[in-house]
């Protein structure tokens, strides 16, 4: 396996996004590409970086190692100081005091083509020249990227690309630079998407036809994705005045027969919590995409953390059931989000999709997903008669859910209610209603075949655990550790926990959990639900995702 890590660094609004998009679009037609970004909470300025990793095999972990730093402003080196080694090549707006750093004025080169605005394309061309890449693919990507801007702009950009390319070639020869990344034919047909697009795709696949939300980083891109596709897939999209309104519109939509969701983050979700409890009481399905970011309060708005697992588990006053998914990769993001709609509808409960900024903003190629693996399931009644009772007592606690508009009235109340949905304080009914609501998911783990994913050594001595977005990075780290028998158990179904996981722990001499939070929330859940104690913990809570190097080193220390 060969891979090359390119870090692009620049201010917000300076065109860093153009460079990253062009490079990814060009590379992804020839290689496996992984890209993730970290950015500051501001519209312009600051210092943002995107890591683009190209490889000849499918690896999607986040690596800190920096082979090439393309710095579009003076702050690049300082920004990623800890990721620069003696082998890192640095190009762009630098003073050349650093080892292996080369000052290149992309704007000046762009001016030679007649316009300074082409400097980002010059920088793109430079990287392609340095890597000795095929220019034809680049030309076609530029053509479609600037298609709406007219022929003049396309021509100018192609010229700028060529100029940059020549400069890159000069450096390649001067530095005797060679990147041994084989071209991979299959990737051309693959998709190149990020976590937000995967969750949005899953929602459409799951039959979502209504989304109301309030913009909040990092959850907004899912909302945007559905808005962008609203005409093609007949999705009602409304930006609400606040998160409370958003989730109440969504509950109204489910009541009227919609399949609705909200997309939100920390503080926005906190506002929705009373309505989560409402969904528990009225037994309404609801799908919540919760894009985690570091709290408390406003925290680090644009950064990542796995800090809201227990918050989502306990959100809402009173006792009622729920299901929590935390996809580990893009494929799971698609299929678990789709599944969330079926589960919510079937059990009439809130279902959470827990992602985080890292997963949402991370792109890589995936083979075309096989959408035929999923079917939308509708569970509500098509018609009712006057004897219809919304909360009829049943063996499994699930009563048939009807939509208003038929001869049986559909009556819901946030107060405790009788089988008809009318307010009651009858003690017997109260007791039976509590039992009815809570037993709905009693055997859900068996019925729905909830299972963790196991990787690694069959006869492991050490069991590594993680959940949600850390999956690919942990997988890669484990593959780099020799001489220890490691097993890895990844959980994307967080609650209720899969039933037979005890067996996995019995075999292990040592268990290590990896979480992007301070209090090790997942191990608390394991203890609470299964009585399993995990003593060894690798935790990170600086707002940044784990890297392969960090996990590898931390695991080596623990084993």
């Amino acid at each position: 396996m060969n891979s090359l890590n390119i870090v692009v660094s620049g201010e917000a609004g300076s065109g860093i996004q153009t460079v990253e998009t062009l490079l990814c679009e060009i590379f992804r037609r020839q290689h496996y590409v992984f890209s993730t970004k970290e950015y500051m909470s501001r519209v312009r300025g600051g210092a943002n970086t995107t890591t683009i990793r190209i490889s000849d095999s499918r690896i999607n972990g986040f690596c800190e190692k920096t082979d090439i730093l393309l710095s579009l402003d003076k702050k690049g080196i300082e920004r990623i100081r800890e990721r620069i080694t003696s082998n890192t090549l640095i190009f762009g707006d630098v003073t050349e005091t650093e080892k292996n750093s080369f000052s290149i004025d992309f704007s000046k080169i762009a001016l030679e083509t007649g316009n300074k605005v082409f400097s980002n394309t010059v920088a793109t061309g430079f990287i392609l020249g340095l890597l000795n890449k095929d220019k034809e693919i680049a030309g076609s990507v530029i053509g479609s990227f600037f298609a709406t801007k007219g022929d003049q702009v396309i021509k100018g950009n192609i010229e700028a690309l060529n100029k940059g390319y020549l400069t890159g070639q000069e450096f390649r020869k001067k530095l005797l630079f060679e990147a041994h990344i084989e071209t991979v034919k299959e990737v051309e047909r693959e998709l190149f998407i990020n976590g937000a697009e995967a969750v949005g795709t899953g929602a459409i696949l799951g039959g979502c036809n209504f989304i109301s939300s309030y913009p909040m980083t990092p959850s907004t891109p899912v909302f945007t994705f559905l808005a962008q596709h609203s005409k093609d897939f007949n999705i009602i999209v409304e930006q609400a005045e606040d998160e409370i309104s958003a989730i109440n519109m969504v509950l109204g939509s489910w009541y009227a027969g919609g399949r609705a969701m909200v997309s939100t983050s920390g503080g926005g979700f906190a506002l929705m919590v009373e309505s989560i409890s409402l969904s528990g009481m009225i037994e309404s399905p609801v799908v919540i995409h919760l894009g985690q970011r570091p709290g408390p309060a406003t925290g680090l708005p644009t950064r990542t953390e796995q800090g809201d697992l227990l918050f989502s588990l306990f959100s809402g006053h009173g006792e009622f059931p729920r299901v929590i998914f935390a996809p580990g990769d893009l494929n799971e993001s698609i299929f678990l989000t789709a599944k969330a709609f079926n589960i919510a509808d079937k059990y009439q409960i809130p279902v959470f999709i827990l992602t985080d900024q890292y997963l949402i903003d991370t792109y890589y190629n995936i083979p075309e997903p096989d959408f035929s693996l999923f079917d939308i399931e509708y569970y509500y009644l098509k018609g009712t008669d006057p004897s219809y009772r919304r909360y009829k007592f049943t063996d499994n606690g699930i009563s048939e859910r009807a939509i208003p508009g038929n001869s049986g009235f559909v009556c819901l109340d946030s107060d405790e209610h009788d089988e008809d949905g009318h307010i009651t304080e009858d003690r017997e009914i109260r007791r039976k209603m509590v039992e009815k609501r809570n037993k709905k998911i009693m055997n859900i783990a068996e019925i729905e075949r909830f299972e963790p994913c196991f990787y690694g050594h069959e006869n492991y001595e050490i069991l590594v655990l993680s959940w949600g977005s850390t999956k690919n990075t942990v997988l890669e780290a484990i593959s780099q550790i020799d001489g220890a028998r490691l097993g890895y158990l990844h959980f994307s179904i967080i609650y209720p926990l899969p039933s037979n996981i005890d067996n996995f722990f019995r075999k292990a001499k040592k268990t290590i959990v990896i979480e992007n939070n301070y209090t090790s929330q997942f191990s608390k859940l394991l203890k609470m639900e299964k009585g399993i104690e995990v003593k060894e913990k690798i935790l990170k809570y600086d707002g940044h995702p784990f890297s392969v190097e960090q996990i590898t080193n931390a695991l080596k220390e623990k084993i």
Partner: protein, 281 residues
Amino acid sequence: MKDLNNAWCPGCGNFGILSSIDKAIDELGIKRENIVMVSGIGQAAKLPHYTNVNFFNGLHGRSIPVATGIKATKPELTVIVVSGDGCIYGEGGNHFIHGIRRNPDITVIVHNNMVYGLTKGQASPTSQIGFRTPIQVCGVFEEPFNAIAVAIALNASFVARCFSADIEKTKEIIKLAIKHKGFSFVEILQPCVTFNKVNTYAWFKERTYYLDSGYSTDDRIKAFETSLEKDRISLGILYTGFQRKTFEQNLEDCGIVYPVIRRKSNIKNDLLKSLKKNHSK
């Protein structure tokens, strides 16, 4: 309807309002199975339990968003919000403002008794200055919320005020409100016989008057001026006639095709195609 034990006090203005709403629905000939009432918390919010309709009795203050979601998803339903001044103006004030801006085709009936009944007699957003309660021991000092003026300022598409004791006239106004396409706001003044000893039946009778036939309901400035009257309280339709597109019409103009409830075709191929198209942007 089940024979429920009604939770309202004898003599409560809610009985008159219930009667007006019931008569309005019957006279309009709307099938009750196609009506959804959405309410929040408070004595007014219990109204749907005492009539025959579908209902969603949700959280305090949140009826307007729920009603918006219902109407947008299934526009053939007649959606009526019924709740009190504390629920709609206090807890749900932000939704009242933005609901008017959004203009879904729903009717919003607000019982205004200028006091909190269910929590036993604290001030409401519409309580008058000086109104004393166990909490507001020095009397209310906040400016009362003038919902009619706010609605006109926001260019609400239908703004009316009624008095609960006048069941006939209230019924007629509710009929017009339900028929009106867009956000129809009807405030119903209502005495609270238990906790409000100031704003009684007599107090309302003395101060209220009906707008006469010479009043033009499409004059926004005049309507605003009328809504600000201090010594007397106007009843009737204060402002309407300004045709605004409803939320659902705007959704349709944006490409939404009803019914949205069930997808017609297999979307899987389209979804794959659209994900591939994304790349070439």
